[in-house]
Symmetry: C2
Subunit: 199 residues, 2 copies
Amino acid sequence: MPEYTPAPLIKAAEQFAKLPGIGMKTAHRLAYHVLSLPQESVVEFTSAIALARESVKFCSSCQNFTETVPCPICSDTRRNSRVICVVESPRDVSVFERAGGYNGVYHVLHGLLSPMDGTTPDDIRVKELMQRLSGDIEEVIMATNPTVEGEATASYISRLVKAVGVKTTRLAYGLPAGAALEFADDVTLTKALENRNEI
Amino acid sequence: MPEYTPAPLIKAAEQFAKLPGIGMKTAHRLAYHVLSLPQESVVEFTSAIALARESVKFCSSCQNFTETVPCPICSDTRRNSRVICVVESPRDVSVFERAGGYNGVYHVLHGLLSPMDGTTPDDIRVKELMQRLSGDIEEVIMATNPTVEGEATASYISRLVKAVGVKTTRLAYGLPAGAALEFADDVTLTKALENRNEI
């Protein structure tokens, strides 16, 4: 923005531009929009975000975002805690829950292995998954995205899981390859879950 | 989001969804992203936005956003304060300044007349413009977008301005009709400014 633009406005735009999928042009539009809002709306906006960051914790068991530890899914006794579905992110848990048809529990990795980005097994929640396997676990379903990183992560983790004698399966390739799990429709996702194969 | 999703996360997503051009899906992604950031980054984000809203004021003369009153453009003695370019929003000022080729001052309406949305002359800064005309003003350039609301606003204001004996011009239709001023390229914009016509 030109030099006469107020510095706090530029700073706000720069902060918006740090969000994923928001470029400089959109960030400027958002910053200008915020200035035109009533003060109360801005306070509401910033405090909702601050509160979310402060009050939401990781579940001690599945590592999903939660307000209560353990999370509502892990503490739900009607669910089968002997089947663990391993996903990349909390959003993937939402996708499975929305689709329905799955009654086990989850494990959120918070990332995928990626040698290009320098993401090693220590950067994602693999250790926490292995700790859970000391309990009475029947099956681990690898439900990472069908991308290069997703496949590599599934294959790495399945080797570790099989080594401790637990059955490992992978989502069926009903999913269109290269796509993101998040955008799959409910039928495709449920099919992929039903037709999972041992790896 | 399903009912097990932490309430503060849903609230944060709802706040993001209130921003222009951000739908519920993107809002959820942004909310999840915020939770994965370090606490300091979230504080940086929310405080930059709060600070922008608190410290940026309206220029007493041109009504543009500014930290100092009057704003740097209005207080720049090298500029011709006898020519006023009337625009819809502060972003339009940025567009003219980036294009260069204009040496007068501005007047920001902060909106356009729109009977459909119930926006009347009292809702935009028309009164403030008329007050400025009591000074030594040579020309008022109507530089609202070439849309229905933009044309209606230009025509309404130009009638008022001509009534007090000040020359009124409209940006030349070098601009592609129906487009937003913000996306015009510098050459088109400068041409439109050069070929402005008395209305």
